[in-house]
C-alpha cells in the first residue's frame, strides 16, 4: 500500500498525475498547497473520501482556510505514523 504525498494544488499537473496513479489500496496525504484538493468536487477525491483514504496536514489546511470536507486532518506525528504504516511512499510535486 503506497502513501502518495501531494504538495501541489489542483491547478498543477502533479495533482492530476497523483490521482491517476492512486491504487485501490493506496492512501493520499495532502500537505502544503495539496490541501486545496479538499475544495474540489473531483470524483477521484470523493472516492478517496468515501473509503477514508484521504488525509491532510491540519496546520497546512488551517493556514489556507481549507476545511476537512470529510478528510482526516492530522498533525505531523500522525503523518509520521502513516509513513510507518504504508510503504513505499511516492511524492508528487
Amino acid at each position: 500500500m503506497t502513501i502518495h504525498i501531494l504538495s501541489k494544488s489542483p491547478q498543477h499537473a502533479a495533482y492530476k498525475s497523483c490521482l491517476q496513479h492512486v491504487g485501490p489500496q493506496d492512501i493520499v496525504m495532502l500537505i502544503n498547497d495539496g490541501v486545496y484538493a479538499l475544495k474540489t468536487t473531483d470524483a477521484a477525491v470523493q472516492e478517496l473520501l468515501d473509503d477514508n483514504r484521504l488525509f491532510a496536514l491540519q496546520h497546512d489546511a488551517t493556514v489556507r482556510g481549507v476545511t476537512a470536507n470529510g478528510a482526516s486532518l492530522i498533525d505531523e506525528a500522525g503523518f509520521v505514523a502513516l509513513t510507518c504504516e504504508h510503504s513505499p511512499s511516492q511524492s508528487w510535486f
Binding site: 504525498i5 504538495s7 498547497d33 498533525d75 505531523e76 509520521v80 505514523a81 513505499p88 511524492s91 510535486f93
Partner: protein, 131 residues
Amino acid sequence: MLFTLVIHSGPYSQTSSTSLNALNFAKALLKEGHTIHRLFFYGDGVFNLNAQMVTPQGEIDLPKAWHTLIEDHSIDSVVCIAAGARRGVLNDSEAKRHQKDSGNLLGSSDLSGLGQLIEAAATSERVITFG
C-alpha cells in the same frame, strides 16, 4: 524505524515551499522515537544549507533551523555536490577548487554525490521525499 528524507524544496517561503514540511516531519519523527539515517538535500533544496541566506524579519529562519536540528541530533546531512556547485552552495575546499572567494555551506552538512542517496535508500526502512 529508520528514515531518510530527501529535500528538493528551497527555503524561500514558509507556505509554498515544503522545506518547512520536511523540517517539521523530521522533528516529529525524532520525537516519536524514530531515527534519521540521512538528510539528502537535492536540487533547490541545497539552498537550505546556505549560510549566506538572510531571512526576512518575522519569518522562520529555515537554514538556521535545519542547522540546529542537524547539530543537536548529530544527523548525517548531505548536500548534493553537483546541485550545490550549480547554485553556488560550496564548502571552503570546493570554493577553492573552483576559484571562488569563500565557501558558504553551513558546517553541519557535507557535500557529496548521489551515491550517498543510493546508499541511504538501500539502508533506510523509509525514504520520504519533500518536493
